[in-house]
């Protein structure tokens, strides 16, 4: 607003995008004040899919809350499972068998691959290219098959348990995963050939949607958004959990701060996820997949607990206040896209409307996770 003199303000108009709009990937609404083609102010309006997850955390027992974790960010649901498992394991001091941790890492990374593939397809679809969606979904279905064979569901996983996982993986899964990695690996350079070097894509992404590292910090943006702004930060490295310290992988960082940088971070992350999966498959020991002494009825000692994981879209952290009963006193879920989107208003100022939608796509939004 400050950019414009009062006289110019007279000529602005208000535009309403959503809640039913294909570019918002769900039911996000954006109230935009426009000056011609340029955005003066874009204010996201949330709440069209608020599903009371935090309230449910308070009136379900610890075990009954599991299904909700699959439905927050349904695209990287296993990472959310991991967050919840880690939280209670920290609170109760449950030791997790090593094999279970490896299985967790493998499934989380497969899930991350799947999420990035879907984002890739949908993002290019936003920009007007339809074919990559088909390629991406083709690969994605392979992952879903693999995950379905161990977890039993395709999307809303509820696979982890306190102290391990629900089900051991079999040899079919291991060979299938190896074969899949072999299949996916040459696809990524193909995507780059097909899409990344396309002039139209470059025009729409390079130097568009600038987010500085400091803005990320002020707004608490994490994940690929932060790494696309040149900050080398990944919970898997900086606050290691599970068996990530034993695995060798890189954290892709790009310093351009634009939509293209975020795009490249995700594309490179796919390669890293594949590396992690391969190593984890090699290193996975035999043994039980569930802690033997995990209690059936959980009553964590009084106090606050906090646990953070790196989900596909950034840091997902949970904070719970326990009052030593079998339900949580307060369950707070910090979803990454909530913080990532909160900088949209500031970052989109002065942008072309069409660029803003491409920019929004590069933030990789999942609305139900934002509204919780």
């Amino acid at each position: 607003m400050t950019l414009l003199a009062q006289s110019q303000l007279q000529e602005t108009f208000e535009l309403n995008i959503g809640p039913q709009h294909p570019a918002t990937h769900g039911v996000l609404r954006v109230k935009v004040i426009m000056d011609g083609e340029y955005i003066v102010k874009a204010e996201p309006v949330l709440g069209y899919i608020h599903r009371m997850h935090e309230k449910m955390g308070e009136n379900r027992t610890w075990n009954q809350f599991w299904p909700n974790l699959g439905r927050l960010d349904y695209l990287s649901a296993i990472a959310y499972n991991h967050g919840y498992a880690g939280l209670l394991e920290r609170a109760m001091g449950i030791e997790v068998p090593e094999r279970a941790e490896y299985i967790r890492v493998i499934t989380v990374e497969l899930n991350r691959l799947q999420s990035h593939l879907l984002w890739f397809g949908a993002f290019i679809l936003d920009l007007g290219g339809f074919t990559p969606l088909m390629y991406a979904f083709d690969e994605r279905e392979q992952i879903l098959d693999l995950l379905e064979s161990v977890t039993g569901s395709r999307l809303t996983y509820c696979y982890f348990r306190f102290g391990g996982v629900y089900n051991d993986v079999d040899d079919d899964f291991i060979t299938g995963t190896r074969a899949f990695i072999k299949r996916l690996r040459p696809q990524i350079p193909m995507y780059h050939d097909l899409v990344t070097k396309n002039v139209i894509l470059m025009e729409r992404l390079v130097d568009i949607g600038h987010i500085s590292a400091d803005m990320c910090r002020k707004y608490g943006a994490t994940g690929p958004v932060l790494r696309g702004s040149g900050v080398n930060f990944d919970i898997r490295k900086n606050e290691p959990y599970s068996v990530y310290p034993e695995l060798d992988f890189d954290v892709p960082v790009y310093h351009e701060c634009d939509s293209m940088a975020r795009y490249m971070v995700r594309m490179d992350e796919m390669e890293q996820s594949m590396r992690i999966i391969e190593q984890a498959l090699d290193k996975m020991p035999d043994g039980p997949v569930k802690a033997e002494k995990a209690p059936k009825i959980l009553k964590p000692p009084k106090g606050d607990y906090h646990f953070a994981v790196e989900a596909a879209r950034g840091t997902f952290s949970m904070r719970t206040v326990s009052d030593a009963t079998n339900t949580s006193y307060r369950m707070r879920l910090r979803s990454p896209t909530y913080s990532n989107l909160s900088l949209f208003e500031e970052a989109s100022r002065g942008m072309l409307l069409s660029d803003a939608l491409a920019f929004m796509g590069s933030l990789d939004l999942v609305i139900p996770e934002m509204d919780r």
């Binding site: 949330l46 709440g47 608020h50 009371m52 935090e54 309230k55 308070e58 939280l87 920290r90 609170a91 001091g93 803005m215 910090r217 002020k218 707004y219 608490g220 943006a221 994490t222 932060l226 900050v231 080398n232 930060f233 919970i235 900086n238 606050e239 009084k302 106090g303 606050d304 607990y305 906090h306 646990f307 953070a308 840091t315 952290s317 904070r319 206040v321 006193y329 307060r330 707070r332 910090r334 909530y338 913080s339 909160s342 900088l343 500031e346 509204d371 919780r372």
Partner: protein, 171 residues
Amino acid sequence: MLASEGLPPQKEVVEEVQAAEEGEVDPKAKKKEEEKPRENGLLETDYAKRGFHLDVQVNPDQVVRSAEILDSEGMTMEMVTGVDWLKDGQFEIVYDYSFTGGELFRVVVRCRVDREKPDVPTISEVFGGANWHERETWELFGINFVGHPQLERFLLPDDCDYYPLRKDFKL
């Protein structure tokens, strides 16, 4: 990246302010303060058990100052949480900060306000990201963030008149 060098002074900064403003540092064991609402002060917590390194309780009027200190240390605001302590007649507001410049360091700042008059100053001037978090906390708990630019309905419909996460909430 300079996490290990960056951390100790950070602790001290907070400690100093606490000592200066509060005049007390509470190093006692956790057991005691869990019975009653704890005294203001600073606790070093066991990270492996709790998930954060430093736990600070301040007065509501020190919230902004604490945010400024942590901001100058290069920390990120992660979330703002409300907790309804019905039996104490208080709301607790919990601010989670983390350090994203290197090895992670988590600080929790909490403050308690009276349930009847839940006023706490906003930190959205310091951290833009707190804007949405505070707005949400206002909406779900009815905690009034004084000076917040836009305390309007956020997740719930515009016309609803209840605070669903209060413990005495009934539809």
